[in-house]
């Protein structure tokens, strides 16, 4: 991956195919986990690829590639989330039905769906990066623009909140699955 990125930085556009092929499943899963609908994942992936291509010159080959690529993709996704935020005039706000479903309405087939329905987006994202993507706290810190200590604290809180939610709702089936 690093070699391919070096080749891209040297002007070889064909080398980008290797990067795109390696990144596509990972980014698709990442976007899906963080609430991007299937219809928009194409655009987000292409936009991420374009940004990675343009940023190839600033990539330091001594650093791991995946967290760097994830950082770029995450920013693209955050921009998308910001652009999608519905804006309604204050007078009409009451008339708009809430799209957000209650936790009980969600089909919680696994613990990730359970967590997504109950935790704040930031906490869920950290849990996903740690246990879904298997990133180290230092890598998560680089991706999310926080310090390592802050990430550890937030992860601890997210785990505690999830454990509490599981206990509160009596959902011990997830923990008994082992």
């Amino acid at each position: 991956m690093r070699q391919a990125m070096r080749a891209v930085a040297a002007g070889d556009r064909n080398a980008f195919r290797t990067i795109a092929e390696a990144l596509e499943p990972r980014l698709a899963r990442f976007f899906a986990q963080l609430g991007v609908p299937e219809t928009d994942r194409d655009d987000l992936f292409q936009e991420s690829c374009l940004r990675l291509y343009h940023a190839a010159g600033s990539y330091d080959a001594r650093r791991p590639f995946l967290p760097w690529a994830m950082t770029v993709a995450r920013r693209v996704m955050l921009n998308w989330h910001r652009a999608c935020k519905p804006t309604v005039a204050l007078e009409e706000a009451d008339a708009v039905p809430s799209k957000q479903q209650g936790p009980s309405a969600a089909a919680e087939a696994d613990i990730w769906q359970f967590a997504r329905a109950r935790l704040p987006r930031e906490a869920y994202e950290l849990l996903w990066l740690c246990y879904g993507e298997d990133f180290e706290p230092a890598e998560i810190a680089a991706v999310t623009g926080r310090t390592g200590v802050h990430v550890r604290v937030l992860l601890h809180r997210a785990r505690a909140a999830l454990a509490q939610a599981l206990e509160k709702s009596g959902e011990t089936r997830f923990l008994k699955k082992r």
Binding site: A10, A28, H54, G57, I111, W112
Partner: protein, 138 residues
């Protein structure tokens, strides 16, 4: 404490196991992305981040040099002061010189005048304080 650790371990294991596995890359999506990259204007970044940077290396070398010279200046042992040859002074001559300085009439007069001045100043100050204190009481 042990229960908490156990819950945490169980939670971590379940989260890791439940994470959806990576599927194969979608060729259509990859193709579309590659086409878009191919159509993008050239970024013109050839070897902008090629390690090692010559400039950075030079800066490091210069910093090391400055540091080393600073340490050398600090650690340098002071040179022994060169002694000038001095003529031997006899004790009697030294005593005579000292006596002439201490017992000079000009020194005695100036010290007496200084003492008188100080006494006058103290007197004035005492009177001023006394008057001021009485003015406050009255």
């Amino acid at each position: 404490m042990q229960k908490k650790q156990h819950t945490r371990d169980a939670l971590e294991a379940v989260l890791r196991q439940a994470a959806p596995a990576l599927r194969k890359a979608d060729p259509t999506r990859v193709e579309a992305a590659c086409e878009r990259v191919a159509a993008a204007p050239s970024a013109g970044f050839a070897n902008t981040c090629e390690p090692p940077h010559l400039g950075r290396l030079l800066a490091r070398a210069a910093a090391c040099l400055v540091l080393a010279s600073g340490i050398a200046v600090l650690m340098r042992t002071p040179a022994a002061p060169t002694r000038l040859p001095t003529a031997p002074i006899s004790t009697a001559e030294l005593a005579r010189t000292f006596d002439s300085v201490v017992n000079a009439p000009s020194l005695e007069t100036s010290l007496t005048t200084e003492a008188d001045d100080l006494t006058d100043d103290f007197t004035d100050l005492t009177i001023a304080i006394k008057n001021h204190a009485f003015s406050l009481i009255l």
